[in-house]
Subunit: 208 residues, 2 copies
Amino acid sequence: MTRTAPAGDGTAPRRRGRPPRAESADTRDRILAAAREEFSELGYDKTSVRGIAKAAGVDSALVHHYFGTKEQVFEAAISVAFAPALNAPLAVADGPVDGVGERLTRFIFGVWENPTTRTPLLAILRSAVNNETAAAVFRRLIAAQLLRRLAEQLDLPDAQLRAELAAAQLVGCAMLRYVIKLEPLASADLEQIVARVAPVVQGHLTGP
Amino acid sequence: MTRTAPAGDGTAPRRRGRPPRAESADTRDRILAAAREEFSELGYDKTSVRGIAKAAGVDSALVHHYFGTKEQVFEAAISVAFAPALNAPLAVADGPVDGVGERLTRFIFGVWENPTTRTPLLAILRSAVNNETAAAVFRRLIAAQLLRRLAEQLDLPDAQLRAELAAAQLVGCAMLRYVIKLEPLASADLEQIVARVAPVVQGHLTGP
């Protein structure tokens, strides 16, 4: 963040002494944070590059300079939110293959249970359901990156379809528990859900 | 529909001769059809009672007279679309219990594969993801009616949670196949999907 408080000795803010590279990384981060906030609150359709720029305290031209179109800002903003998820399949494989279902299930619910990571996920889901451009970004990130990596590790026929059906169980749980808030699912103990869902995810991934 | 073509003999439209009861049923149906169309195209937030009235060719006061608030119009409009689904669990039970998973799976995919029933479902899903009022309507219809009826027939501990996790698998499949259009799931042969999904739904409903 560049808008830090003045240094403790009362002199000008320390950021003045930073090299340009750090300054520009700060600005990028600030734009991405503002973009996530705007997309989360307003959805894809109602979010504008101008609104993001305003929220980040920069000129719209700077947003275009760093990221390009609104679609590209969206992809960049949610890629950051997805970064842990995109690394997950590799971690998921860090263990016996008969535990991959439970590891993936715990990882996905972990992301949704944490309010910090839930907000951008909700934004992505809302935008993807309502807007074809946002759905395409979602497809690229989820299908081409997360699920393909998982499928490659399975090395089975129909591995990509298996990974998508496993994802469908988890996406559906997230929809009904966190978005629609169906009871008793919305308030059920996480361990009870994992006990029922993990074997299903495992079955999709490695079952007959 | 009241806007029928004039009768074949060139006289005034036949509807003039209808009793008031039929006339008002026609008007109700026309309003509901217009409401489904508006909610599908615009989503819950952007749809207005005024817009529905205009599309139906009636005064807004008449929409309020028949249905009340926008939320009530929404519930009435989607209840019609849900009518076959609300009767489904009963039909689902019309057979051996070890086939309930496949019957439910085929029923749900059947509704989604049919463009006529897919459109209102998409409208409901989009609205429910984006608007808390619409989500509440969705909860009442899905949870209180469809899933509770299914759960009652199962007569098992945690039957409602089981029904919701089965629904989660099907909702997730619908999301990824029909809304996000992830490949290969979006183009996969329906029988291939049913073969993988029906046992999972069965397991949730009646498994250990």
